[in-house]
Symmetry: C2
Subunit: 348 residues, 2 copies
C-alpha cells in the first residue's frame, strides 16, 4: 500500500508543526506545501524547518493551481484562516480536486454556527466530489466541546454544563501578544475593541452549538463577552510584557441559553504569567446532572501542539469517513497514532 499523501496549505506555526509531526510518523508523506511568504517560496520544506531527514524534497510553492496540477494528495491540511469565509475558497479548490480536507480555522470546527450557508455549500460540494471536510483543533474542536460531549455520555441526564479553559499565553510569540492585547493600556483596549481589532478567543459559538446539537438541546440564545485582564503587578514573558495597570490578557466568557437561562457556561481567560497573581492554569469541565462529572486537566493541554496533533491524528478518520462536511461529533474519537498510519484505514 502506498503512503498516505499529505498537502499542507499554509506554512506558519501550525503548518510547520504538522510537517514536523508528520516526519516522525510511519505510512505517510508530504507531497506538497503551499505558502506565499517570500522567505519560504522555492525552498525545500525541510530546509525551511531546518530538519535533515531522508524524506523526499518538496519545494514550497506559492501557486496552488500549479502545485495541484503536479501532485495528487489524499488529504489537505489547511492552516490558513480563522473564519469560514476566508477558508471557503481554499476548501472549494481542494474539494474540486477530489482531495479530503482538514481545516484549522476555528469557525470550521462547527461552521453552521456562524456560517450556515457556506457550511451547506461545503457539504454539498464535498458530497458532489466524493470527499470529506473536517474542521478541528484543540479549542474549538476538543477541550471545550468534544470532551464535554464525551463526558456527558456517562450521564442519564444533564441540567447544566460549565467549561473553563484557563491558559497561559507566555509560550506564544509576538503575533499572539499583539492579537491578545498583552501590555496595552485600558484606553488602547477600548479603542481596539471598538474597531474590532482585538480577536480574543474565536470559537465559543462553535463549541456551544456543537454541544447543544450533540445532546439534542434547542438553544434559544447565545451570548459572549470580552473583558480585559488588568495586571496589578509587572509581568514579563519571553515575547510579552505587561506593566502594572496594563493588560496581561483577555477574559472571554460565553453562554448558551435554554428557556432564557444559562445551560452552557464558558470561561476562557488567556494571559501571560497567570501564576504571578495566583491563577492556576487548567482545563475544567463541570457537568451537573445524573451523575455529576467534575473533570480537571492540570496544567491545561498545550494549545499549539494540541491543535497540530488533533489535525494530524484525525487524518485516518477523515479518509475513512463518508463524503460530506463532518464535525468532531460525527467521527470516532481522536487518538495518538504511534504505529503505521495506514493501519487505521478501513478497507474501502
Amino acid at each position: 500500500m502506498q503512503n498516505i499523501k499529505v498537502f499542507i496549505w499554509g506554512f506558519g506555526a501550525m503548518g510547520r508543526g504538522m510537517a514536523e509531526m508528520l516526519l516522525t510518523k510511519k505510512g505517510v508523506e508530504i507531497v506538497g506545501v503551499c505558502d506565499i511568504h517570500p522567505d519560504l517560496v522555492g525552498k525545500d520544506f525541510k530546509t525551511a524547518l531546518d530538519i535533515k531527514t531522508d524524506h523526499p524534497e518538496v519545494i514550497i510553492e506559492q501557486d496552488v493551481d500549479k502545485l495541484l496540477a503536479n501532485v495528487k494528495p489524499d488529504i489537505a491540511l489547511l492552516c490558513t484562516d480563522s473564519f469560514v469565509a476566508g477558508a471557503f475558497p481554499k476548501i472549494k479548490k481542494v474539494v474540486e480536486h477530489k482531495i479530503d480536507c482538514i481545516s484549522t480555522a476555528e469557525e470550521m470546527a462547527y461552521p453552521s454556527a456562524n456560517a450556515p450557508e457556506l457550511a451547506k455549500k461545503i457539504d454539498s460540494l464535498a458530497k458532489q466530489h466524493g470527499v470529506t471536510v473536517l474542521g478541528t483543533g484543540i479549542n474549538p474542536g476538543f477541550i471545550m466541546d468534544l470532551l464535554v460531549v464525551a463526558l456527558s455520555g456517562v450521564m442519564s441526564d444533564v441540567s447544566h454544563i460549565e467549561a473553563k479553559r484557563v491558559n497561559s499565553l507566555s509560550p506564544f510569540g509576538p503575533v499572539v501578544m499583539h492579537e491578545q492585547g498583552v501590555g496595552i493600556s485600558l484606553e488602547a483596549y477600548e479603542s481596539r475593541t471598538a474597531s474590532h481589532d482585538l480577536a480574543g478567543h474565536v470559537g465559543f459559538k462553535e463549541s456551544v452549538m456543537m454541544i447543544a446539537d450533540a445532546l439534542g438541546v434547542k438553544l434559544d440564545g447565545f451570548e459572549q463577552q470580552m473583558k480585559p485582564i488588568v495586571t496589578t503587578i509587572d509581568r514579563k514573558s519571553k515575547y510579552g510584557e505587561a506593566k502594572k495597570g496594563t493588560l496581561a490578557g483577555i477574559n472571554m466568557t460565553g453562554q448558551g441559553l435554554v428557556d432564557g437561562k444559562v445551560f452552557i457556561d464558558m470561561f476562557h481567560p488567556q494571559q501571560i504569567e497567570p501564576e504571578m497573581e495566583g491563577t492556576h492554569t487548567g482545563d475544567y469541565i463541570k457537568l451537573t446532572g445524573t451523575p455529576a462529572v467534575n473533570m480537571a486537566i492540570q496544567p491545561e493541554v498545550d494549545g499549539g501542539i494540541g491543535t497540530i496533533a488533533m489535525c494530524v491524528n484525525m487524518i485516518p478518520h477523515v479518509l475513512n469517513a463518508r463524503p460530506g462536511l463532518k464535525t468532531m461529533i460525527d467521527l470516532p474519537v481522536p487518538r495518538a497514532i504511534l504505529g503505521d498510519m495506514r493501519d487505521l484505514l478501513e478497507d474501502a
Copy 2:
C-alpha cells in the same frame, strides 16, 4: 417516524436502570423484557419497577423465543453476563433475528482480548444478518480505555500511559459485597482466590488491548495482579462491613508491556468507605509524552449509573453503524441524549 423499539434481556440492576432511564427519553419505547427470575416473570415491567407512567404494558417473559416471535425490536440491550462465552449464545439469537445488540458484558467491550474466536464469529454473524453488535459500559468501555484514547488525540507522541480508577463500593448491594470479598478474612481471601471464586475487576485486558490497538502499539505482554485491601480500622457501609484486619475490598493492577517494559499501567482499587483511611476516590489518567496530559475526575464517575447511561446513550450510534462487531473506538463519541433519540439517527 416510529419510536425506536428496545428489547431488554436481563432485568437485574443494569436492565432495570436502563428501563427507568428509557422511560424518561423521547422517541424510544420498550417492546420486550426477558428475565427468568420467578418474582419477575408475568409482571408488567413497570409494576416490577414500581413506576407509574403511560408507557404501554410489557409483560416480562421468560421464553426469549416466544418473545421474539411476537415483537420486532430495533435493538437489544443484553444485561446478563460478564464473559463473552456466556453472552455469545444470546448475542447469536438476537443477531439471527436481525436485531442490533448492545451488551454490558465486560469482556464484550473488547472481545478480541479474551475471546478472539468468538469475536470473529460475532462479527461474521452480524455482517451476515446486516446488524451491529457493541459491548460497552463505564469500565471497561469508557473511563480506563475510551477516555484514555480520546485524550491521547491531543498528543503528537505518547511514551507512557497510566490509568487509575479509585472507587468506593459503599453504594453497592450484597451481591457486590460478596463478589469483592468485603469483610472476609485473609485466609478466606486466599482460599477463594485459589478456587477462582473472587472476580475482582473484569476488564483490564479489554481496556489495555483497546488502547494499544487504537494507538497502533504492538504489545508483547499483558499481566494483572489481585491484592487484598486489608483495613486497619472497622469500616461499615449500608450493605458491607469490614472489621479491622479483614478485607475492605480488592486492589487490581494490570500492565500492557512494550519491549518488555510497562507502557500501559492500570490501577483499580475498590473498597468500602475508602475515605476512612484517607483514600480519595476519583478517576485519574496520566499520559506522558508531547504534551503531557494529567486528568482527574473527582469523585469517580458512578459505575452503576455510568454503565446504564453508556448503554442507552450508544443506541443511536449502534443503529447508525455499518454491520459487524464494533467497539467504542469505532463509533462516534457517546453523549447524553436530552432531545428525541430519533433526531440522532442518520438517514438510511
